[in-house]
């Protein structure tokens, strides 16, 4: 028997179609102010549109209540490794919604959007300076899209030289899944490189893997183990000597800002996840932006468009959208995720020269502080100082108390903290990857450390508390296998 309370709580989760009442509408539209134009013949027109009918008030209440079922960076600490969930300054949202940015149409003539183009050009220049590269295209719409653009450029570079036999891309075993997926989308064969005992690239395996069929290497620096590869100069040299392109996955750029420029190390191309390093509210999974920044060898191949600056006869600066001479083409219909570019550039302007370098300073101290204070409570697979993130392993808890990384993660939710990245990188058993970012205070870190220590103790004293976590959430653990076995992907009328 369902109690009234239970029923009301279910009702709050009712879908729009089940809330629909004929005749209700949540938005108003004007009356037509033009002479009536005859509609086309009936046969071309849609019979009915099976959409919900809800009032504005109902819609606002439904979605506001739903929103409260989420954790978010404005409410919770997100020590989410590899995701760089830093605080997003509110002023950037205000700026991005200025009508002069939000309302402009992507196909307006260049002369009518000089402010937007100048903003893009300046952002290109800042990214080039920060990474030590030569050119930049802001077109890719996400990190994975930037990877795609980068590997397309490597492909075009080899094809241009008639080296079509170069069909292999090397990828370390610690890499994000997007790297191999990207190489495959570009028609390359993926060769996985092992890491050595210190978490660096295994140089012997690398030397063995390079040859005339090498197209390039995709490498994340610092690696997803949160470690700076101390062999990196040698890695770059080996790949370049073999004729390969060195691609840098910029997911962990936060650790490098003002410390090292990938261009100086000999990288040919990298992408920057602007939404991570230079902030953009994550939005529950996008939007982001993934500009590519390239060295000299790949300049002609950048995706289109790129913003150029020149002077007219009177010396006025003119900004124009241009296609690089041998461009790999268009990544999307227009010029990239401009709204995200505005936010990222505003963030860079706020920080300025000193602020940018402080990011890596604070991010690295914060991660090492957590490392030092949780060492001994959780296994540390690579016992050396880390960069902006630290990878622990729950294998000691698993062995001794049957507690998995998943259990630790879910128990953190009870304490109001978003779980760290789990089971990644794949080469670490029961991985818990923690990235505090530079925007968190020492007090927040101490609170997290206290909770993590308490959970390690609970693993010993009350393991079921962890197995059954989370306890105080709108839903307990979900039957994910059932969702995949019997896919139910939309509302259906028989419900």
């Amino acid at each position: 028997m369902t109690t009234l309370l239970e029923r009301l709580s279910q009702d709050r989760r009712q879908l729009l179609m089940d809330r629909s009442v004929s005749g209700r509408v949540g938005a108003t539209l004007p009356e037509s102010d033009v002479p009536h134009q005859p509609l086309p013949e009936e046969g071309l027109l849609r019979d009915t549109l099976d959409f919900p009918e809800v009032s504005e008030n109902e819609l606002v209440r439904y979605l506001s209540q739903l929103s409260q079922l989420n954790f978010s960076i404005d409410h919770n600490f997100y020590p989410l490794g590899s995701c760089t969930m830093k605080y997003n300054p509110k002023v950037d949202d205000e700026i991005a919604s200025m009508p002069g940015f939000a309302e402009i149409h992507p196909l307006q003539p260049d002369a009518t959007v000089q402010g937007a183009l100048r903003l893009m050009w300046e952002l290109q220049q800042r990214l080039i300076e920060i990474t030590g590269m030569q050119g930049c295209s802001l077109a890719p719409m996400a990190g994975a899209d930037g990877e795609f653009a980068g590997i397309l450029m490597a492909r075009a570079y080899h094809q241009d030289r008639g080296n079509t036999q170069r069909n292999k891309v090397l990828i370390p075993d610690s890499a994000h899944g997007t790297n191999p997926a990207t190489a495959n989308m570009c028609g390359f064969e993926v060769v996985t490189l092992p890491s050595d005992a210190n978490g660096n690239t295994d140089l012997e395996a690398l030397r063995f893997s390079v040859g005339d069929d090498l197209a390039g290497l995709m490498i994340t620096l610092p690696s997803t183990l949160g470690l700076f590869d101390s062999n990196i100069l040698e890695v770059v040299r080996v790949v370049r000597d073999a004729g390969g392109i060195v691609y840098g996955d910029g997911a962990n750029l936060n650790a490098l800002l003002g410390r090292v420029k990938l261009g100086d190390l000999g990288f040919d191309v990298m992408h920057s996840n602007l939404h991570k390093t230079f902030t953009q509210p994550h939005g529950g999974g996008g939007p982001g932006a993934g500009p590519v920044i390239v060295g000299e060898r790949l300049l002609p191949y950048m995706p289109t468009p790129v913003v150029n600056r020149s002077a007219d006869n009177d010396g006025n600066l003119i900004y124009t959208l241009k296609a690089p001479p041998q461009t790999v083409g268009r990544m999307g219909a227009f010029h990239g995720n401009f709204g995200a570019l505005v936010r990222a550039y505003a963030y860079i302007c706020t920080l300025g020269d000193q602020g940018i370098a402080n990011i890596s300073h604070d991010a690295v101290i914060n991660a090492n502080y957590i490392l030092s204070r949780l060492k001994g409570y959780y296994d540390l697979p690579y016992d050396r100082s880390c960069m902006h993130e630290v990878v622990f392993s729950a294998r000691n808890l698993k062995r001794e108390h049957g507690i998995s990384a998943l259990d630790v993660a879910k128990r953190l939710i009870d304490y109001g903290i978003h779980p760290p990245t789990m089971y990644f990188p794949l080469i670490v058993e029961e991985a818990l990857m923690v990235e505090p970012t530079e925007t968190e205070s020492k007090e927040t870190l101490d609170g997290f450390i206290e909770v993590m220590r308490a959970i390690a103790q609970e693993a010993q004293d009350a393991p079921d508390l962890l197995h059954n976590a989370p306890h105080d959430t709108p839903n307990t653990r979900l039957d994910e296998a059932r969702a995949a076995r019997r896919p139910y992907l939309r509302w259906q009328p028989e419900d």
Binding site: G115, D145, V260, I356, N475
Partner: protein, 423 residues
């Protein structure tokens, strides 16, 4: 904190880095205060000629429509805006349930069985549809009607050619397919704005054993027979028209819908319904074994994002307008565009291309190069249509929607007439 870590300075933590490349100079401007920041970006923003201040008649893939206030209000909530990707479903039901709503609305709008949670934009959604058609049919050519937007064909080439798929641009009047053709791609309305007989094109595709992939304008589907009722196997669309400001081209959200039988070949995030350990309904990311973080190089795509916040904007827009509001917004748009076409058709020197029924945009042959015309129109505070002289001599693609007032439309026609007499 350094004491706890056991180092004297932060530089020791960076000691791994190659000495000669450590701490490079960073030639950037000094920091800006919030006050300076708003002033500087405000200046940049005012250097643009902004629609609203200017009457604007551009479309071609990005459309201006009225966006109800609740769209911005609801999507600005921190709980939606600053949440992470919902990998932890117990604390992400808000995002997951709204994504499920988006999938439902997109499936119903397109007339298809299922939709995913969103792609980067309409053009990449179309490109991924073609890759999927190739996986499903195990064929390696794609036929694209020459009436599809050149920009979309260009994106399609970016995606299709590296994995070895050949793009054949074929005549819309008589598309030639062969036994290697994985799919036939059509755009509805076509690039020039005209409605085509989709069932006839679908039959051509299916007769050749190919799938029928349709790129459909989002709002037009509220008024015209949707692709799902005309034999489409996969439908891509641009969600921008549904509640998203033009924002100089992005971020937008791509709609991706298909038949139920292809769900395990779909790209992108998909949300499914399930139950929790206490038997209560809940939503979760599902069919993840298709995706890059599990399947790596054998994934259906490298995409990670579903552009969730923009998808939410479209969800709120579709839900607020609902069954009748969507149709009304579409019909108002139709009224404005047809009124404008009727005026332009009466101006000496201009002719509206007779391509049949159109929805919100149409092609016009002008008495002078459209670039010159557009430059002159700025004096009247009007941003004219898109220069398509590469497709049509002195051609301009002109769009009007419900946000264009009669006053604006009359002024546009009058300006065209006035400038036309100066040829």
């Amino acid at each position: 904190m350094l004491d706890t870590i056991g180092v004297d300075s932060v530089d020791e933590l960076f000691a791994d880095k190659q000495q000669q490349h450590r701490n490079p100079t960073l030639d950037l401007p000094p920091p800006m205060s919030e006050c300076d920041l708003k002033r500087y970006f405000g200046e940049l923003a005012t250097m643009n000629k902004t629609p609203g201040e200017y009457a604007c008649f551009l479309g071609a893939g990005s459309y201006r429509h009225h966006i109800p206030a609740i769209v911005r209000q609801l999507t600005s909530r921190s709980e939606f805006m600053t949440a992470y990707t919902p990998y932890q479903p117990e604390i992400s039901q808000g995002t997951l349930q709204t994504e499920f709503e988006f999938q439902t609305l997109c499936a119903q709008l397109t007339g298809m069985d299922v939709a995913n949670a969103g792609m980067y934009d309409g053009s990449t959604s179309l490109a991924e549809a073609v890759l999927m058609a190739s996986r499903v049919t195990r064929r390696t050519r794609v036929a694209v009607l020459d009436s599809v937007s050149p920009a979309y064909i260009s994106v399609l080439r970016t995606y299709a050619e590296p994995p070895g798929i050949t793009v054949d641009v074929v005549s819309a009047d008589n598309p030639e397919l062969n036994e290697d053709t994985a799919c036939l791609v059509a755009q509805q309305p076509n690039f020039l704005g005209y409605i085509q007989d989709m069932q006839a094109i679908a039959d051509r595709a299916h007769d050749a054993g190919a799938l029928f992939v349709v790129y459909a304008d989002a709002l037009s589907m509220a008024m015209f027979t949707p692709p799902g009722d005309c034999g489409a196997d996969i439908v891509a669309s641009e969600g921008q028209a549904l509640g998203v400001p033009p924002t100089f081209g992005g971020p937008y959200v791509g709609i991706f819908a298909c038949k139920q039988s292809y769900i395990r070949q779909m790209p992108g995030r998909i949300v499914g319904r399930t139950v929790d350990s206490q038997g209560r309904t809940a939503y979760v990311l599902t069919l993840q074994t298709r995706e890059q973080h599990i399947r790596r190089e054998r994934a259906t795509s490298n995409i990670c994002t579903s552009v969730a916040l923009i998808a939410l904007m479209s969800t709120v827009y579709m839900a607020a307008n609902g069954r009748h509001g969507m149709r009304r917004a579409a019909e108002l748009t139709y009224q404005k565009a047809h009124y404008l076409a009727s005026l332009i058709g009466g101006i000496p020197g201009y002719s509206v291309v007779d391509g049949g029924v159109f929805f919100q945009e149409f092609a016009v042959q002008c008495p002078m190069p459209p670039s010159t015309l557009n430059e002159r129109l700025l004096e009247y505070k009007i941003i004219g249509g898109l220069d398509i002289s590469e497709q049509l001599q002195n051609g301009m693609l002109i769009c009007a929607t419900e946000v264009n007032t009669r006053e604006e439309i009359d002024a546009f026609a009058a300006a065209l007439a006035e400038i036309g007499t100066t040829v």
